[in-house]
Symmetry: C2
Subunit: 68 residues, 2 copies
Amino acid sequence: MKNRIQELRKSQKVTQQELADALSVTRQTIISLENGRYNASLTLAHKAAQFFKMTIEELFIFEDDENL
Amino acid sequence: MKNRIQELRKSQKVTQQELADALSVTRQTIISLENGRYNASLTLAHKAAQFFKMTIEELFIFEDDENL
DNA sequence: GAAAAATGTAAAGTATACTTGACAACTAAT
DNA sequence: ATTAGTTGTCAAGTATACTTTACATTTTTC
């Protein structure tokens, strides 16, 4: 699935490192999420949604064909 | 984190196998989620929320101390 | 109360989220 | 132009979500 992390992070002038620290993950994890290498865990999705003050459904874009 | 899967599944008279099939996972996965052995992936959380016609935030119980 | 259906447990394997470390490239400041 | 800051890539390792198979226990139904 896609997400709005990079878009929101940039608009709020937050660096990857700052976001990584805020979510207690590494910068690599942020890069991978932003670049679509893999999906966030539910826990990380929740932390990120809290950081950006929105719901998981608002932060992540669930395309309903990605389930087969 | 906890979730309301077992509670909702039972109240709707759905078996573990039926839910597993609906979410395209194995029954083991449902058992493990219901019994708290591990957390759902974000994709599975989304599928389950859709199944029960609610949001991820409504289906899963995020206790805000589980992040350290 | 026997058979069938539903739930649970255990163990080994695969897939993927996440870490760690090192290094390259681009941007911005001095 | 050099330095610092930010972003990206690559590769190898660890942790955990999920599968598969097999079997044991509980619940339901006849």
